[in-house]
Amino acid sequence: MAKTTNQTPATNQDQSRGFLLYNRRPALSEHVLESLKEAEAITGINQSELRMRLMGLGIGALNINRCLNELEDCAADLRFIGLNTTAVTKEYVKNGKLPPAARHINLTDSTIKFLDANENTLFKITKESELLIIITDLSGKTVKHLMTAMAYTGNAINKTFDEILKKFSIAKPAAIFYSLNGDSENGVYVDSDIFSYMGLNDKLTHSKGSNFRVMVKEAMAMSKSSITDENFGISLLPGANPEWSRGKSPVEKELGRYTRYILTAVEKKLLPFEAESNEASDEETSPSLSGDKPGTYPSNKNLAGMNSSKGLQPPPNINYSKITSFFQTSLPELIVGLIVIVSPFSFFMSGVKSISAHQVFWKMAAGSAIVLAGVLMFCYSLLLLYYRRMVENTPTSKIRSLSMGMVELSGKSRLYYDLRTSATKTQCVYYRCRYYKYQQTNDGSRWALTRSVSSGKIPFYIEDDTGRVLIKPKGAIFNIPMATQSFQGSYIPTLSIQLHDPNTKVVEELIPERARLYVLGSAQVEKHGKKTREIIIDKLRMLKQSPKIMSEYDINSDGQIDVEEWEAARSDVERMVYAESLANGPGDSESVVIEKPRFGLLPFIIADSEKNLIRKLMFRTWIFLFGGLSTMGFSLNFLVNFFR
């Protein structure tokens, strides 16, 4: 096993400083989310940043600028709260070099030998070998392609390892093999451009790329166990980010550093995801890694499974028209907007001399607009008071014994769809995402909102200790403090790579899974599938198409189904369908959902807790009540003076 620098004597600043290495997670489990606060205290990195850094594939590194001893203490503390972390020094990584390059490869049925130019054996793979394989593309094209696909579709990890390997084979593939049988310094570098194959001619072709693929697959199949790094040496590791545009040699240099990270991760058992595997037993959402060979890196197939969260379906696309988006704005915003736009405009117009003939009109318009705004604010305060009383007066139901009509529920949010935020692909039950662009204008510069995305109508569950029920948030008033994460530039979620761009900014607000939730809404029965009438029609249609069954109803055996015979058939079918529906009960065809009440001003509110909601509603009620009354008083005074 390679010796990490924590065992190497420190001689300079680099030696005494380093990084924290950790294994990223495709989905953050509850205990990780709960540990974020403690992790923030330990590392000094804020929770939202940590959440982004922890999500993704492979290993990640945190540069928290502390000396090695402190880093090791940090790592121990993080391990204590369930985040598998280890420390690695900068010096160890900096000195990372590629192992000797192979010139010839001799493939036989029982071994793969990597030979140098003089045909001396550099490295040997047998059935007893335990391997670390790092694969990359020296041209950078495939890596860029995959990165883009991951960034914009988020589903590249659904590709099988074979598919990815195939793509690499088309470009300029390279691989590093290390032995994990005790001496991990024992390795070999394989660049598909500079070696030739010997043996196993029946499996080889004229294409270097496909031969490379054969060699990797043979190595994996032949060895006892293998860990394949599928992050192509491009993970967000400090100092190990190859600049693909600068040609082959910098890539090779960075790969040397990158391998040091991977070796440390393997040595400290970060890569086999042992912690994730343990979590799977007590966490529903943590997928099982069963099926992996012990000590192997989870395959892409596994990762796809992990990412899809218990096989949840992705949410359907919901398009919002501009009108819908406009009416989604809350009422207070509309009122304030009304005052802000109409009143100053009217005052301005009433002062413009060129339209002095219309001054009276504009002054009246200004006064009336403010009176109207005051009345609206007053009415809104009463509505808020009504909502507050409703929240206070409605008892909290248990989900198991939910009755139809207005209900109040308290529990935790759970996923219905595999919903992910649009920028960082963080799993959540609800999100709002705003994209900004930095713009220079005549008045100066500002962040201009370019796009706003919300998960809007996507349903989710609320769960208490007795069960769960679906919430359809269409038309709900969200009064819940959301977790906010913002960053400048764009973000590649699956790799946890943030591409910095000072001119763009993304602000993401989300309600994560298992967030504390309070819901006041209407419980309704939702019917799924076909109605009884439709089932009867279907059955009758099938009956018509089956001459054998039809002949059973041909009582007078004239070869024709007359009206009476058809009536008999129809009543039989009806009886059968009703009997079936009675026997099966409502079953899956009916379910209870919580949604906006279908009539009146009854509220549909989603909040974090009843106590906080009442406090907020009370505060707003007083603000709007006094605001409304004083606005009305001011505007009436203005109008009275004007008419005098």
Binding site: F378, L385, P395, L629, G633, L636
Partner: protein, 189 residues
């Protein structure tokens, strides 16, 4: 100036009247919440009432020596039949719950009965109903509690006294039903 004062007074009066209306409506909704919670319990009590004869008939086949236990269940059921007031219904329901607890405890002595599919289904159904009744009883008590608090709070107390609203009783478990069921197991020879 007088006009302004008049308008302000008018505004305050409108606000007060609206506030009173909201309080009045709130109290009405609280009152009806209790009725709704009670009706929702009633639905479940009816469902359990319908399941009891089936349960007793399944048990009778196996429990020839436990007539008393089965009779208790039947008696409690008929008590519910004759119950008129809310209090009588609560008492009858408590009696059924107690009788069922005794029955399920005694069933432990009858492995054949425990293995019977129909019995298991009925037991699961009755237990499920029991859980739901317990939840709804909790909801009922919360509704009553909210109502009782509200009618004693200021300023609701003024409107509540004008409406002559009285304190409602919580659904409390009879002390004798809180006692543990005495379980006796016969050891097979």
């Amino acid at each position: 100036m007088t006009l302004i004062i008049l308008l302000t007074l008018l505004g305050i009066i409108v606000a007060l009247i609206t506030f009173c209306i909201i309080i009045y409506n709130g109290l009405i909704s609280l009152k009806h919440n209790i009725s709704k919670a009670w009706s929702n319990i009633d639905v479940l009590l009816k469902q359990r009432y319908d399941e009891l004869p089936k349960l007793v008939s399944v048990c009778e086949g196996y429990m020839q020596h436990e007539r008393a236990v089965l009779e208790n269940v039947t008696k409690a059921r008929s008590q519910l039949d004759s119950a008129g007031s809310e209090k009588e219904i609560v008492n009858a329901n408590n009696a059924i719950t107690s009788a069922l607890r005794s029955l399920f405890a005694v069933v432990e002595n009858y492995p054949d009965l425990k293995a019977d599919r129909a019995f298991r289904q009925l037991q699961a159904r009755v237990s499920q109903l029991e859980d739901q009744i317990a939840d709804r009883r909790e909801l009922y008590n919360e509704s009553v509690n909210l109502f009782n608090i509200r009618i004693e709070q200021f300023p609701d107390v003024i409107i509540a006294s004008m409406m002559r609203l009285d304190e409602r009783e919580l659904w409390q478990i009879d002390p004798e039903h809180r006692e543990d069921v005495n379980m006796k197991f016969s050891v097979p020879a």
